[in-house]
């Protein structure tokens, strides 16, 4: 009879406690897997974005003050870390951008921006629903449309936070805005589609507000689909070198019109990874405490069995090995259950959970649930180490069992 077989027989003596131990470990590991896999997915997402051409580019607006276009282009091309300079591409696409911030009178204000975006041909807006704007006055809006924050836009929908952008398709939005001279303007746009706002960051168009001819340009672009933009796209060799190029531009007197906010989401990813590590540590520590208690009470229930083994001549080390193989089986069962449940259920469930219960629409689309083997291996190690540590902690209790006291009342 193998140690494994004997351990299985011993486990059957306390089926309830064994099941509770497996359940607690499985629940803790599910939480561990979810948190860590999300952090890993987010990190992978940020890294993926950094690799996109869009996040290695700056956009700068040509100004007649810089002389001829050729001189301007030549200067940009001569800057270090600049790989390519090209005119920002057409066609025009109308879109309402996510909220951004501007300091007005010393205080932050949140805005939505109505912009007519020229995208690099390599970069497409991922439409989730509806269609691309084809006519003047048509716009696409972000999925996580949050009119609640915006005080410069009157809407046909109720002002509630985190509305699903899909609900606006077909609606006409009265868009009020003010220019840099603080003059208010109003226009109407029709929502024809919803895009994945995480994949099109806010920074992509905010410069328009600072342009003196913003209104004029906007109007021209509405009315003339063949309008040729004067913006240049500067392709930088590496994402990290964008600030250096920006500085060179500023020294030249040109102001980069588009600043990346990838740093922000990068910080968020970093924060998530730190938070997931902290949360994992708390979960593991808490689980260890519970399993310690359960194994301690398990040994209490097993006194008679342990005493029997002692009378048969089993050394305490051998009994410990027997219990060790038992707790490792418990740990493996918990790990297996956690991984199976997470793999089977979490993938399909996490999008409905986030959207229905937490009203978060953009994360599930932006970050795809994935299974990371490193996380799985760490969870397996944790699943086995938790009961092992608990057993080591409870060993003194095991060593104190005296068969004479347990087996007989003599």
């Amino acid at each position: 009879m193998s140690l494994f077989r004997l351990s299985l027989a011993n486990m059957r003596c306390n089926k309830g406690k064994t099941a509770v131990n497996i359940l607690i470990i499985a629940l803790a590991l599910i939480l561990f897997l979810v948190v860590n896999n999300l952090a890993a997915a987010l990190a992978q997402y940020v890294n993926g974005m950094k690799a996109l051409p869009k996040y290695r580019t700056l956009q700068v607006t040509y100004n007649r003050g810089f002389g001829s276009r050729e001189t301007f282009e030549g200067t940009l091309k001569g800057m270090s870390h600049v790989k390519q300079v090209r005119q920002a591409a057409s066609p025009l696409i109308g879109m309402i951008q996510d909220s951004a911030q501007k300091i007005t009178d010393g205080a932050y204000e949140d805005y939505y921006y109505l912009t007519f975006q020229e995208f690099h041909p390599d970069v497409k807006i991922d439409l989730i629903s509806g269609e691309y704007p084809k006519h003047p006055g048509e716009v696409v809006i972000p999925l996580n449309f949050q009119p609640y924050y915006d005080s410069y836009m009157s809407l046909t929908k109720e002002k509630i936070p985190y509305l699903n952008g899909k609900d606006f398709i077909g609606d006409t939005i009265t868009f009020s805005f003010r220019d840099v001279q603080e003059n208010w303007h109003q226009d109407k746009v029709t929502v024809v589609g919803v895009y994945d706002s995480v994949k099109v960051l806010e920074e992509a168009s905010t410069a328009y507000l600072y342009q003196e001819d913003f209104i004029r340009l906007s109007k021209i672009r509405f009315e003339d689909p063949n309008y040729q933009p004067t913006d240049y796209e500067v392709v930088v060799d590496e994402y990290q070198n964008i600030p250096a190029v920006e500085k060179q531009m500023e020294n030249y007197g040109a102001i980069p019109s588009r600043k990346t906010s990838l740093g922000g989401i990068g910080d968020f990813a970093f924060l998530m990874s730190g938070a997931s590590a902290a949360l994992s540590a708390v979960v593991i520590a808490f689980t260890l405490l519970i399993v310690c208690y359960l194994i301690s009470s398990l040994i209490g229930k097993r006194k008679k069995l342990v005493a029997l083994f002692q009378t048969l001549g089993y050394r305490n080390a051998k009994i410990f090995r027997m219990l060790l193989s038992e707790v490792l089986l418990i740990g493996l069962a918990g790990t297996l259950a956690a991984n199976l449940l997470t793999a089977l259920l979490f993938g399909p469930l996490w999008e409905p959970i986030l959207t229905r219960f937490f009203s978060v629409y953009f994360l599930p689309l932006a970050i795809q649930w994935d299974y990371y083997w490193r996380t799985v291996l760490i969870s397996a190690a944790a699943g086995c180490l938790i009961p092992l540590c608990a057993l080591l902690f409870c060993y003194p209790k095991l060593a104190k069992i005296r068969p004479a006291e347990v087996l007989s009342d003599g």
Binding site: M1, C13, L312, G313, A317, P403, A404
Partner: protein, 223 residues
């Protein structure tokens, strides 16, 4: 040949209750000893001391020329494994192992026997106690008498020198009681069997009957 010699053996609990009080005795080889006494007389404690399940407060136990009261825990475990077979009133069988597996349990510690040999030997022992037809049954599927016979077979697993039985017929009917005592008597042909019991029937089977009262041993065989 003298097998077990106890000298001035005393066991006190919390320095107040004296369960075994300066007992000196000799247990000879190949003899069936019956120790009788009332509850609380100290007979079970004496058996635990002989079986090294408890340490004496004073005195010595010499078995096979060696003072076993001086042995360290691991050496005591080895001594129990090789030299002693225990039989308990409530059988103490592993509830989730079959009769055969229960008999094989002490053999797990014997590295010199292969698994196949363990199985063959366990079957042979079950045959000896007329239980071979119940080898694959779990304890709860066995009657009290059958469970005790399985426990005796387990006690014989490592061919020990001593069989120590604590109220072996306490939970059995008359028919099974006779069967168990007969079996123990048969075993005393080549082992020392010491059984403590309330049951006066033991006098019909035991070669030597001793009486325990207030922690002291009286009777034939006393030094």
């Amino acid at each position: 040949m003298t097998m077990i010699e106890i000298k001035d053996l005393t066991k006190q609990y919390a320095k107040k209750v004296t369960a075994v009080d300066h007992v000196t005795a000799v247990f000879k080889d190949k003899t069936f000893y019956g120790i009788m006494g009332r509850s609380g007389s100290g007979k079970s404690t004496l058996l635990q001391l002989l079986g090294t399940l408890a340490a004496p407060t004073e005195g010595t136990i010499v078995a096979g020329g060696e003072d076993i009261t001086r042995l360290k825990p691991n050496a005591l475990a080895d001594f129990r494994q090789k030299q002693i077979g225990f039989v308990f009133q409530d059988f103490q069988l592993h509830p989730y192992l079959t009769a055969l597996q229960n008999v094989m349990l002490p053999m797990q510690l014997n590295a010199g026997i292969s698994r196949r040999e363990q199985k063959e030997k366990a079957m042979e022992l079950l045959r000896k106690v007329s239980l071979e037809h119940r080898a694959d049954h779990y304890p709860k599927q066995l009657s009290g008498g059958e469970q005790q016979r399985a426990a005796i077979a387990r006690a014989l697993a490592n061919d020990p020198r001593y069989i120590l039985a604590d109220e072996p017929t306490g939970n059995l009917d008359v028919q099974n009681e006779q069967r168990i005592f007969s079996l123990l008597k048969e075993l005393s042909g080549n082992k020392t069997v010491i059984a403590v019991t309330h049951n006066p029937v033991i006098s019909q089977y035991a070669g030597v009957v001793l009486h325990m009262q207030d922690g002291r041993l009286q009777g034939e065989g006393m030094v």
